[in-house]
Protein backbone atom coordinates (compact mmCIF):
# COMPACT_ATOMS: atom_id res chain seq x y z
CA UNK A 1 0.00 0.00 0.00
CA UNK A 2 2.70 2.40 1.01
CA UNK A 3 4.76 1.31 -1.96
CA UNK A 4 1.95 2.14 -4.33
CA UNK A 5 1.49 5.53 -2.75
CA UNK A 6 5.19 6.18 -2.92
CA UNK A 7 5.34 5.07 -6.53
CA UNK A 8 2.51 7.35 -7.47
CA UNK A 9 4.21 10.12 -5.57
CA UNK A 10 7.38 9.74 -7.55
CA UNK A 11 5.43 9.61 -10.78
CA UNK A 12 3.76 12.79 -9.65
CA UNK A 13 7.13 14.42 -9.11
CA UNK A 14 8.25 13.33 -12.56
CA UNK A 15 5.19 14.85 -14.15
CA UNK A 16 5.40 17.86 -11.88
CA UNK A 17 8.98 18.60 -12.85
CA UNK A 18 7.92 18.79 -16.49
CA UNK A 19 5.10 21.13 -15.61
CA UNK A 20 7.61 23.23 -13.70
CA UNK A 21 9.79 23.52 -16.80
CA UNK A 22 6.86 24.82 -18.80
CA UNK A 23 5.49 27.06 -16.05
CA UNK A 24 8.89 28.56 -15.24
CA UNK A 25 9.04 30.04 -18.69
CA UNK A 26 5.70 31.75 -18.18
CA UNK A 27 6.61 33.08 -14.80
CA UNK A 28 10.00 34.37 -15.93
CA UNK A 29 8.42 36.29 -18.79
CA UNK A 30 5.75 37.70 -16.54
CA UNK A 31 8.30 38.69 -13.95
CA UNK A 32 10.33 40.69 -16.41
CA UNK A 33 7.64 42.02 -18.72
CA UNK A 34 4.39 41.73 -16.79
CA UNK A 35 3.07 39.99 -19.88
CA UNK A 36 1.75 36.54 -20.68
CA UNK A 37 2.94 34.80 -23.79
CA UNK A 38 -0.04 32.80 -24.93
CA UNK A 39 2.06 31.13 -27.60
CA UNK A 40 4.17 29.49 -24.89
CA UNK A 41 1.98 26.41 -25.24
CA UNK A 42 2.81 26.09 -28.89
CA UNK A 43 6.52 26.32 -28.20
CA UNK A 44 6.07 23.25 -26.04
CA UNK A 45 4.22 21.49 -28.85
CA UNK A 46 6.80 22.45 -31.45
CA UNK A 47 9.57 21.27 -29.17
CA UNK A 48 7.81 17.93 -28.91
CA UNK A 49 7.35 17.69 -32.67
CA UNK A 50 10.95 18.69 -33.32
CA UNK A 51 12.14 15.94 -31.01
CA UNK A 52 9.71 13.49 -32.57
CA UNK A 53 10.82 14.09 -36.14
CA UNK A 54 14.49 14.07 -35.14
CA UNK A 55 14.17 10.67 -33.50
CA UNK A 56 11.53 8.97 -35.65
CA UNK A 57 12.12 10.45 -39.08
CA UNK A 58 15.83 11.14 -38.93
CA UNK A 59 16.76 8.36 -36.59
CA UNK A 60 18.58 10.63 -34.18
CA UNK A 61 19.13 9.86 -30.52
CA UNK A 62 16.66 10.88 -27.88
CA UNK A 63 19.04 12.91 -25.79
CA UNK A 64 20.22 14.99 -28.75
CA UNK A 65 16.57 15.54 -29.66
CA UNK A 66 16.04 17.18 -26.30
CA UNK A 67 18.91 19.51 -27.09
CA UNK A 68 17.37 20.22 -30.47
CA UNK A 69 14.02 21.01 -28.91
CA UNK A 70 15.80 23.38 -26.57
CA UNK A 71 17.29 25.22 -29.50
CA UNK A 72 13.99 25.27 -31.38
CA UNK A 73 12.33 26.73 -28.31
CA UNK A 74 15.05 29.34 -27.92
CA UNK A 75 14.73 30.35 -31.53
CA UNK A 76 10.95 30.69 -31.30
CA UNK A 77 11.27 32.75 -28.14
CA UNK A 78 13.66 35.05 -29.91
CA UNK A 79 11.32 35.47 -32.87
CA UNK A 80 8.19 36.05 -30.82
CA UNK A 81 9.84 38.67 -28.66
CA UNK A 82 11.40 40.43 -31.63
CA UNK A 83 8.24 40.37 -33.74
CA UNK A 84 5.54 40.93 -31.15
CA UNK A 85 6.61 42.09 -27.70
CA UNK A 86 9.40 44.47 -28.59
CA UNK A 87 7.36 46.52 -31.10
CA UNK A 88 4.39 46.70 -28.73
CA UNK A 89 6.45 47.76 -25.75
CA UNK A 90 6.11 51.47 -26.38
CA UNK A 91 2.35 51.36 -26.83
CA UNK A 92 1.73 51.04 -23.15
CA UNK A 93 -1.51 49.09 -23.48
CA UNK A 94 -1.07 46.16 -21.15
CA UNK A 95 -3.40 43.74 -22.89
CA UNK A 96 -2.53 44.20 -26.55
CA UNK A 97 0.59 41.99 -26.35
CA UNK A 98 -1.45 39.20 -24.79
CA UNK A 99 -3.98 39.43 -27.58
CA UNK A 100 -1.20 39.46 -30.16
CA UNK A 101 0.22 36.26 -28.70
CA UNK A 102 -3.23 34.71 -28.85
CA UNK A 103 -3.06 35.46 -32.56
CA UNK A 104 0.40 33.92 -32.84
CA UNK A 105 -0.77 30.87 -30.93
CA UNK A 106 -3.79 30.35 -33.17
CA UNK A 107 -1.57 30.78 -36.21
CA UNK A 108 1.01 28.27 -35.03
CA UNK A 109 -1.66 25.75 -34.14
CA UNK A 110 -3.29 25.98 -37.53
CA UNK A 111 0.05 25.74 -39.31
CA UNK A 112 0.82 22.62 -37.31
CA UNK A 113 -2.64 21.26 -38.10
CA UNK A 114 -2.01 21.76 -41.78
CA UNK A 115 1.45 20.18 -41.70
CA UNK A 116 1.03 17.43 -39.13
CA UNK A 117 -2.68 16.73 -39.20
CA UNK A 118 -4.96 16.11 -36.24
CA UNK A 119 -4.13 12.44 -35.73
CA UNK A 120 -1.98 11.87 -32.65
CA UNK A 121 1.60 10.78 -33.21
CA UNK A 122 3.05 7.95 -31.16
CA UNK A 123 6.21 9.35 -29.65
CA UNK A 124 8.13 6.40 -28.27
CA UNK A 125 11.18 7.20 -26.29
CA UNK A 126 13.78 4.42 -26.32
CA UNK A 127 14.04 4.82 -22.59
CA UNK A 128 10.37 4.18 -21.89
CA UNK A 129 10.83 0.45 -22.14
CA UNK A 130 13.80 -0.01 -19.87
CA UNK A 131 12.76 -0.44 -16.30
CA UNK A 132 14.62 -0.13 -13.05
CA UNK A 133 13.46 -1.88 -9.90
CA UNK A 134 14.07 -0.19 -6.62
CA UNK A 135 12.56 -1.23 -3.32
CA UNK A 136 9.54 -2.91 -4.83
CA UNK A 137 8.81 0.00 -7.17
CA UNK A 138 9.21 0.22 -10.91
CA UNK A 139 10.68 3.19 -12.70
CA UNK A 140 11.27 3.61 -16.36
CA UNK A 141 14.62 5.03 -17.34
CA UNK A 142 12.58 7.74 -19.00
CA UNK A 143 11.31 8.91 -15.62
CA UNK A 144 14.80 8.98 -14.19
CA UNK A 145 15.97 10.87 -17.25
CA UNK A 146 13.20 13.42 -16.87
CA UNK A 147 13.95 14.03 -13.24
CA UNK A 148 17.66 14.28 -13.92
CA UNK A 149 17.34 16.70 -16.82
CA UNK A 150 14.65 18.82 -15.19
CA UNK A 151 16.45 19.07 -11.91
CA UNK A 152 19.64 20.01 -13.70
CA UNK A 153 17.87 22.65 -15.77
CA UNK A 154 15.95 24.11 -12.85
CA UNK A 155 19.00 24.03 -10.66
CA UNK A 156 21.12 25.76 -13.27
CA UNK A 157 18.44 28.40 -13.76
CA UNK A 158 18.19 28.99 -10.04
CA UNK A 159 21.94 29.32 -9.69
CA UNK A 160 22.03 31.59 -12.71
CA UNK A 161 19.41 33.91 -11.25
CA UNK A 162 21.01 34.05 -7.84
CA UNK A 163 24.70 34.14 -8.52
CA UNK A 164 25.56 35.46 -11.96
CA UNK A 165 25.51 39.07 -13.04
CA UNK A 166 23.07 38.43 -15.87
CA UNK A 167 20.76 36.63 -13.50
CA UNK A 168 20.79 39.52 -11.10
CA UNK A 169 20.26 41.91 -13.99
CA UNK A 170 17.18 39.88 -14.87
CA UNK A 171 15.82 40.22 -11.36
CA UNK A 172 16.63 43.92 -11.40
CA UNK A 173 14.69 44.49 -14.60
CA UNK A 174 11.81 42.50 -13.14
CA UNK A 175 11.67 44.74 -10.10
CA UNK A 176 12.12 48.13 -11.69
CA UNK A 177 12.89 48.43 -15.35
CA UNK A 178 13.63 52.14 -15.36
CA UNK A 179 16.09 52.07 -12.51
CA UNK A 180 17.80 49.03 -13.93
CA UNK A 181 18.21 50.97 -17.14
CA UNK A 182 19.70 53.86 -15.24
CA UNK A 183 22.19 51.50 -13.66
CA UNK A 184 23.58 50.58 -17.03
CA UNK A 185 21.58 47.43 -17.67
CA UNK A 186 20.02 47.26 -21.12
CA UNK A 187 16.49 46.11 -20.35
CA UNK A 188 15.72 45.12 -23.91
CA UNK A 189 18.65 42.73 -24.03
CA UNK A 190 17.72 41.29 -20.67
CA UNK A 191 14.13 40.83 -21.79
CA UNK A 192 15.28 39.06 -24.92
CA UNK A 193 17.53 36.82 -22.85
CA UNK A 194 14.62 36.02 -20.56
CA UNK A 195 12.45 35.09 -23.50
CA UNK A 196 15.10 32.85 -24.97
CA UNK A 197 15.68 31.04 -21.69
CA UNK A 198 11.97 30.70 -20.97
CA UNK A 199 11.19 29.34 -24.42
CA UNK A 200 14.20 27.02 -24.38
CA UNK A 201 12.86 25.51 -21.18
CA UNK A 202 9.48 25.14 -22.80
CA UNK A 203 10.93 23.40 -25.85
CA UNK A 204 12.92 21.06 -23.66
CA UNK A 205 9.83 20.33 -21.61
CA UNK A 206 7.97 19.55 -24.81
CA UNK A 207 10.59 17.03 -25.90
CA UNK A 208 10.28 15.18 -22.63
CA UNK A 209 6.50 15.48 -22.51
CA UNK A 210 6.17 14.10 -26.03
CA UNK A 211 6.16 10.45 -24.96
CA UNK A 212 3.77 11.21 -22.13
CA UNK A 213 1.17 13.31 -23.88
CA UNK A 214 -1.14 12.76 -26.77
CA UNK A 215 0.97 14.38 -29.45
CA UNK A 216 -1.25 16.57 -31.61
CA UNK A 217 -0.94 20.23 -32.55
CA UNK A 218 -2.98 20.94 -29.42
CA UNK A 219 -0.69 19.03 -27.07
CA UNK A 220 0.81 22.19 -25.66
CA UNK A 221 -2.62 23.66 -25.05
CA UNK A 222 -3.48 20.80 -22.74
CA UNK A 223 -0.40 21.52 -20.68
CA UNK A 224 -0.59 25.28 -20.75
CA UNK A 225 -3.80 25.40 -18.80
CA UNK A 226 -2.10 23.52 -15.99
CA UNK A 227 0.92 25.77 -16.40
CA UNK A 228 -1.31 28.82 -15.88
CA UNK A 229 -2.76 27.22 -12.79
CA UNK A 230 0.73 26.58 -11.49
CA UNK A 231 1.92 30.09 -12.14
CA UNK A 232 -1.09 31.59 -10.44
CA UNK A 233 -0.88 29.30 -7.44
CA UNK A 234 2.82 29.90 -7.10
CA UNK A 235 2.54 33.59 -7.86
CA UNK A 236 3.31 35.31 -11.14
CA UNK A 237 6.99 36.08 -11.31
CA UNK A 238 7.81 33.98 -8.27
CA UNK A 239 10.31 31.28 -9.21
CA UNK A 240 10.31 29.35 -5.95
CA UNK A 241 6.53 29.42 -5.78
CA UNK A 242 6.24 28.11 -9.31
CA UNK A 243 8.55 25.19 -8.57
CA UNK A 244 6.60 24.18 -5.49
CA UNK A 245 3.23 24.66 -7.14
CA UNK A 246 4.32 22.67 -10.19
CA UNK A 247 5.35 19.70 -8.11
CA UNK A 248 2.10 19.88 -6.16
CA UNK A 249 0.02 19.86 -9.34
CA UNK A 250 2.02 16.90 -10.61
CA UNK A 251 1.34 15.06 -7.39
CA UNK A 252 -2.35 15.88 -7.49
CA UNK A 253 -2.58 14.60 -11.03
CA UNK A 254 -0.73 11.42 -10.23
CA UNK A 255 -2.85 10.58 -7.23
CA UNK A 256 -6.19 11.41 -8.82
CA UNK A 257 -5.57 9.95 -12.25
CA UNK A 258 -6.59 6.49 -11.10
CA UNK A 259 -9.83 7.76 -9.73
CA UNK A 260 -10.76 10.38 -12.31
CA UNK A 261 -9.99 10.48 -15.99
CA UNK A 262 -7.65 12.98 -17.65
CA UNK A 263 -10.53 15.29 -18.48
CA UNK A 264 -11.70 15.45 -14.90
CA UNK A 265 -8.19 16.18 -13.77
CA UNK A 266 -8.33 19.32 -15.87
CA UNK A 267 -11.51 20.26 -14.09
CA UNK A 268 -9.96 19.66 -10.67
CA UNK A 269 -6.85 21.65 -11.48
CA UNK A 270 -8.86 24.45 -12.96
CA UNK A 271 -11.29 24.53 -10.12
CA UNK A 272 -8.25 24.85 -7.89
CA UNK A 273 -7.00 27.67 -10.09
CA UNK A 274 -10.30 29.51 -9.90
CA UNK A 275 -10.38 29.01 -6.16
CA UNK A 276 -6.90 30.46 -5.95
CA UNK A 277 -7.90 33.44 -8.03
CA UNK A 278 -10.89 34.09 -5.85
CA UNK A 279 -9.07 33.82 -2.58
CA UNK A 280 -5.51 34.92 -3.16
CA UNK A 281 -4.78 36.06 -6.70
CA UNK A 282 -1.23 36.97 -5.91
CA UNK A 283 -0.31 33.39 -5.18
CA UNK A 284 0.50 31.26 -2.17
CA UNK A 285 3.79 32.85 -1.39
CA UNK A 286 3.66 36.37 -2.76
CA UNK A 287 2.65 39.15 -0.43
CA UNK A 288 -0.39 41.27 -0.93
CA UNK A 289 0.31 44.91 -1.65
CA UNK A 290 -2.37 47.59 -1.41
CA UNK A 291 -2.11 50.33 -3.94
CA UNK A 292 -2.31 53.98 -2.91
CA UNK A 293 -4.25 55.92 -5.47
Amino acid sequence: MLTVALQQGINGLVLGSLYVLVALGLTLIYGVLVQINFAHADIVTLGAFAAYFFTHALGGGYLPSIALALLVGAGLGFLINAAVFAPLRERGNELLPLIATIGVSVMLENVMLAWFGPIPYAFDSPYSDEVIRFGGMFFTVQSVLIIAVSTAAIGLLYAFMKFTFLGKALRAVAQDRETAGLMGINPNRVIMLTFVIASALAGMGGAMLGPVLVLTPFAGASVIVKAFAIVIIGGFGNVEGTIIAGLIVGLIESYTTQVLGPGLIDIVVFALLLLMLAVRPTGLIAERREENV
Binding site: E287, R289, E290, N292, V293
Partner: protein, 257 residues
Protein backbone atom coordinates in the same frame (compact mmCIF):
# COMPACT_ATOMS: atom_id res chain seq x y z
CA UNK B 1 -19.01 79.06 11.93
CA UNK B 2 -18.69 76.78 14.94
CA UNK B 3 -22.43 77.03 15.65
CA UNK B 4 -23.37 75.47 12.35
CA UNK B 5 -23.80 71.67 12.43
CA UNK B 6 -20.80 69.79 11.12
CA UNK B 7 -21.28 68.29 7.71
CA UNK B 8 -18.47 65.85 8.15
CA UNK B 9 -16.76 64.13 11.06
CA UNK B 10 -13.90 61.71 11.11
CA UNK B 11 -12.97 60.12 14.40
CA UNK B 12 -9.92 58.12 15.33
CA UNK B 13 -8.95 57.07 11.81
CA UNK B 14 -5.96 54.75 11.60
CA UNK B 15 -4.44 52.76 8.78
CA UNK B 16 -1.43 50.47 8.52
CA UNK B 17 0.12 49.35 5.26
CA UNK B 18 2.08 46.17 5.84
CA UNK B 19 3.62 47.36 9.05
CA UNK B 20 3.98 51.00 8.08
CA UNK B 21 1.70 53.27 10.07
CA UNK B 22 0.36 55.61 7.42
CA UNK B 23 -2.35 57.27 9.51
CA UNK B 24 -2.71 57.14 13.27
CA UNK B 25 -5.70 58.32 15.25
CA UNK B 26 -6.75 61.29 13.14
CA UNK B 27 -9.99 63.09 13.93
CA UNK B 28 -11.53 66.11 12.29
CA UNK B 29 -14.77 68.03 12.18
CA UNK B 30 -15.67 70.10 9.12
CA UNK B 31 -18.36 72.77 9.17
CA UNK B 32 -20.55 73.24 6.08
CA UNK B 33 -19.70 75.87 3.46
CA UNK B 34 -16.11 76.13 4.65
CA UNK B 35 -12.75 75.26 3.20
CA UNK B 36 -10.78 72.84 5.35
CA UNK B 37 -7.17 72.19 4.46
CA UNK B 38 -4.99 69.27 5.43
CA UNK B 39 -1.32 69.99 5.06
CA UNK B 40 1.94 68.35 6.01
CA UNK B 41 5.28 67.37 4.54
CA UNK B 42 5.64 64.50 2.10
CA UNK B 43 4.81 61.17 3.65
CA UNK B 44 2.66 62.75 6.34
CA UNK B 45 -0.24 60.52 5.38
CA UNK B 46 -2.46 63.20 3.83
CA UNK B 47 -3.40 61.25 0.74
CA UNK B 48 -3.97 58.10 2.74
CA UNK B 49 -6.31 60.06 4.97
CA UNK B 50 -8.21 61.23 1.92
CA UNK B 51 -8.43 57.66 0.70
CA UNK B 52 -9.87 56.62 4.04
CA UNK B 53 -12.43 59.41 3.91
CA UNK B 54 -13.47 58.62 0.37
CA UNK B 55 -13.58 54.89 0.98
CA UNK B 56 -10.78 53.67 -1.26
CA UNK B 57 -9.21 51.88 1.71
CA UNK B 58 -11.12 50.61 4.73
CA UNK B 59 -9.66 52.07 7.94
CA UNK B 60 -8.14 49.77 10.53
CA UNK B 61 -9.90 51.83 13.17
CA UNK B 62 -12.13 54.89 13.37
CA UNK B 63 -15.32 56.17 11.83
CA UNK B 64 -16.35 58.54 9.07
CA UNK B 65 -19.66 60.35 9.49
CA UNK B 66 -21.34 62.34 6.78
CA UNK B 67 -24.13 64.48 8.21
CA UNK B 68 -25.57 61.93 10.58
CA UNK B 69 -24.80 58.92 8.43
CA UNK B 70 -22.02 56.52 9.32
CA UNK B 71 -20.40 55.90 5.98
CA UNK B 72 -17.36 54.06 7.36
CA UNK B 73 -18.26 50.72 5.83
CA UNK B 74 -19.48 52.04 2.50
CA UNK B 75 -17.50 51.46 -0.70
CA UNK B 76 -16.43 54.59 -2.62
CA UNK B 77 -19.27 54.54 -5.14
CA UNK B 78 -21.89 54.46 -2.40
CA UNK B 79 -20.51 57.57 -0.75
CA UNK B 80 -21.24 59.61 -3.84
CA UNK B 81 -24.97 59.33 -3.19
CA UNK B 82 -24.38 60.92 0.18
CA UNK B 83 -22.85 63.90 -1.55
CA UNK B 84 -19.14 63.11 -1.46
CA UNK B 85 -16.92 63.72 -4.50
CA UNK B 86 -13.18 63.76 -4.98
CA UNK B 87 -10.30 64.35 -7.31
CA UNK B 88 -7.03 62.43 -7.36
CA UNK B 89 -3.43 63.36 -6.77
CA UNK B 90 -2.42 61.46 -9.90
CA UNK B 91 -4.89 62.69 -12.50
CA UNK B 92 -7.36 59.94 -13.37
CA UNK B 93 -9.32 61.22 -16.31
CA UNK B 94 -10.92 59.03 -18.96
CA UNK B 95 -8.25 59.85 -21.49
CA UNK B 96 -9.97 58.22 -24.47
CA UNK B 97 -13.18 60.17 -23.91
CA UNK B 98 -13.80 63.76 -24.93
CA UNK B 99 -13.69 66.56 -22.38
CA UNK B 100 -17.44 66.91 -22.25
CA UNK B 101 -18.01 63.15 -22.06
CA UNK B 102 -15.76 63.05 -19.02
CA UNK B 103 -18.04 65.55 -17.30
CA UNK B 104 -21.19 63.76 -18.47
CA UNK B 105 -19.85 60.55 -16.90
CA UNK B 106 -20.17 62.34 -13.58
CA UNK B 107 -23.95 62.48 -13.93
CA UNK B 108 -24.15 58.73 -13.47
CA UNK B 109 -25.99 58.88 -10.17
CA UNK B 110 -28.35 61.62 -11.25
CA UNK B 111 -30.13 60.33 -14.32
CA UNK B 112 -33.92 60.19 -14.27
CA UNK B 113 -34.65 57.72 -17.03
CA UNK B 114 -37.02 54.77 -16.65
CA UNK B 115 -35.21 51.48 -17.22
CA UNK B 116 -36.97 50.58 -20.47
CA UNK B 117 -35.95 53.88 -22.03
CA UNK B 118 -32.33 52.83 -21.98
CA UNK B 119 -33.31 50.45 -24.76
CA UNK B 120 -36.02 52.50 -26.44
CA UNK B 121 -34.92 56.13 -26.29
CA UNK B 122 -38.15 57.92 -25.43
CA UNK B 123 -38.88 61.49 -24.41
CA UNK B 124 -37.58 61.17 -20.84
CA UNK B 125 -34.32 59.90 -22.30
CA UNK B 126 -33.98 62.84 -24.63
CA UNK B 127 -34.88 65.34 -21.94
CA UNK B 128 -32.27 63.86 -19.60
CA UNK B 129 -29.67 63.91 -22.35
CA UNK B 130 -30.32 67.58 -23.08
CA UNK B 131 -30.19 68.45 -19.39
CA UNK B 132 -26.88 66.64 -18.87
CA UNK B 133 -25.40 68.30 -21.91
CA UNK B 134 -26.46 71.76 -20.75
CA UNK B 135 -25.17 71.27 -17.22
CA UNK B 136 -21.90 69.83 -18.46
CA UNK B 137 -21.41 72.88 -20.66
CA UNK B 138 -22.03 75.13 -17.65
CA UNK B 139 -19.49 73.22 -15.58
CA UNK B 140 -16.91 73.46 -18.33
CA UNK B 141 -17.50 77.22 -18.46
CA UNK B 142 -17.05 77.38 -14.69
CA UNK B 143 -13.59 75.78 -14.86
CA UNK B 144 -12.61 77.72 -17.96
CA UNK B 145 -12.67 74.90 -20.51
CA UNK B 146 -15.54 76.13 -22.68
CA UNK B 147 -13.75 75.98 -25.98
CA UNK B 148 -12.37 72.49 -25.43
CA UNK B 149 -15.55 70.46 -25.05
CA UNK B 150 -14.88 68.15 -27.99
CA UNK B 151 -11.14 67.70 -27.46
CA UNK B 152 -9.83 64.40 -26.19
CA UNK B 153 -9.19 64.60 -22.48
CA UNK B 154 -5.72 63.19 -23.00
CA UNK B 155 -4.83 66.11 -25.27
CA UNK B 156 -5.31 68.79 -22.60
CA UNK B 157 -2.47 70.45 -20.77
CA UNK B 158 -1.75 69.36 -17.21
CA UNK B 159 -3.44 72.40 -15.69
CA UNK B 160 -6.49 71.97 -17.91
CA UNK B 161 -6.73 68.31 -16.94
CA UNK B 162 -6.76 69.25 -13.28
CA UNK B 163 -9.66 71.65 -13.84
CA UNK B 164 -11.49 69.02 -15.90
CA UNK B 165 -11.20 66.57 -13.03
CA UNK B 166 -12.80 69.15 -10.76
CA UNK B 167 -15.61 69.80 -13.25
CA UNK B 168 -16.23 66.07 -13.48
CA UNK B 169 -16.38 65.74 -9.70
CA UNK B 170 -18.78 68.69 -9.53
CA UNK B 171 -21.08 66.92 -11.98
CA UNK B 172 -22.06 64.54 -9.18
CA UNK B 173 -23.62 67.55 -7.38
CA UNK B 174 -21.64 66.97 -4.20
CA UNK B 175 -21.99 68.75 -0.90
CA UNK B 176 -18.47 67.87 0.15
CA UNK B 177 -15.66 68.04 -2.40
CA UNK B 178 -12.31 66.44 -1.62
CA UNK B 179 -9.43 67.83 -3.68
CA UNK B 180 -6.12 65.98 -3.55
CA UNK B 181 -3.03 68.14 -4.09
CA UNK B 182 -4.61 70.30 -6.81
CA UNK B 183 -1.79 72.82 -7.09
CA UNK B 184 0.97 70.33 -7.91
CA UNK B 185 2.29 71.07 -11.36
CA UNK B 186 0.31 74.27 -11.89
CA UNK B 187 1.86 77.64 -12.64
CA UNK B 188 1.07 80.73 -10.57
CA UNK B 189 -1.78 81.94 -12.79
CA UNK B 190 -3.40 78.49 -12.81
CA UNK B 191 -3.11 78.27 -9.03
CA UNK B 192 -4.81 81.64 -8.63
CA UNK B 193 -7.63 80.57 -10.95
CA UNK B 194 -8.01 77.39 -8.92
CA UNK B 195 -8.19 79.26 -5.62
CA UNK B 196 -10.75 81.64 -7.07
CA UNK B 197 -12.95 78.68 -8.09
CA UNK B 198 -12.71 77.22 -4.61
CA UNK B 199 -13.81 80.53 -3.14
CA UNK B 200 -16.79 80.67 -5.47
CA UNK B 201 -17.77 77.13 -4.53
CA UNK B 202 -17.68 78.06 -0.88
CA UNK B 203 -19.89 81.08 -1.55
CA UNK B 204 -22.38 78.79 -3.21
CA UNK B 205 -22.53 76.68 -0.09
CA UNK B 206 -20.21 73.82 -0.96
CA UNK B 207 -17.82 72.38 1.59
CA UNK B 208 -14.30 71.78 0.35
CA UNK B 209 -11.62 69.60 1.90
CA UNK B 210 -8.24 70.28 0.33
CA UNK B 211 -5.09 68.23 0.80
CA UNK B 212 -2.08 70.30 -0.09
CA UNK B 213 1.62 70.13 0.23
CA UNK B 214 2.30 73.81 -0.40
CA UNK B 215 1.35 75.90 2.63
CA UNK B 216 1.29 79.36 1.04
CA UNK B 217 -1.56 78.52 -1.32
CA UNK B 218 -3.68 77.10 1.42
CA UNK B 219 -3.23 80.07 3.74
CA UNK B 220 -5.07 82.30 1.26
CA UNK B 221 -8.24 80.26 1.09
CA UNK B 222 -8.67 77.90 4.04
CA UNK B 223 -10.92 78.55 7.01
CA UNK B 224 -9.35 75.85 9.13
CA UNK B 225 -6.16 73.87 8.74
CA UNK B 226 -5.06 70.49 10.06
CA UNK B 227 -1.33 69.89 10.06
CA UNK B 228 -0.18 66.28 9.88
CA UNK B 229 3.23 64.78 10.35
CA UNK B 230 4.25 61.12 10.27
CA UNK B 231 0.63 60.06 10.02
CA UNK B 232 -0.43 61.82 13.21
CA UNK B 233 -2.27 65.10 13.72
CA UNK B 234 0.15 67.78 14.78
CA UNK B 235 -2.10 70.80 15.19
CA UNK B 236 -5.47 72.13 14.04
CA UNK B 237 -6.51 75.76 13.89
CA UNK B 238 -6.99 78.82 11.73
CA UNK B 239 -4.33 79.64 9.16
CA UNK B 240 -3.04 82.46 11.36
CA UNK B 241 -2.66 80.15 14.34
CA UNK B 242 -0.92 77.50 12.24
CA UNK B 243 1.58 79.96 10.88
CA UNK B 244 2.92 80.85 14.31
CA UNK B 245 2.67 77.46 16.00
CA UNK B 246 6.18 76.45 17.02
CA UNK B 247 5.63 72.74 16.53
CA UNK B 248 4.41 73.26 12.99
CA UNK B 249 7.28 75.58 12.17
CA UNK B 250 9.75 73.09 13.49
CA UNK B 251 8.31 70.14 11.63
CA UNK B 252 7.39 71.80 8.38
CA UNK B 253 7.93 75.47 7.84
CA UNK B 254 11.55 75.22 8.83
CA UNK B 255 12.21 73.15 5.74
CA UNK B 256 10.63 75.74 3.40
CA UNK B 257 13.02 78.02 1.51
Amino acid sequence: MSDAPAIFRAHGLSKNFGGVRAVKDVSLVVAPATVFAIIGPNGAGKSTLLNLISGVHPPDAGTVMFDSFDVTGLPPHARVRHGLARTFQKIRLFKQLSVIDNVVAGFHARHSIPAWQYVWHGSAFRADRARCRAEATELLAFVGLSGRAQALAGALSYGEQRMLEIARALATAPRLLLIDEPAAGLNAAEVEALLERIRVLRERGMTVLVVEHNMDLVMNVADRVLVMDYGEPLFEGTPAEVQVHPGVIAAYLGAEP
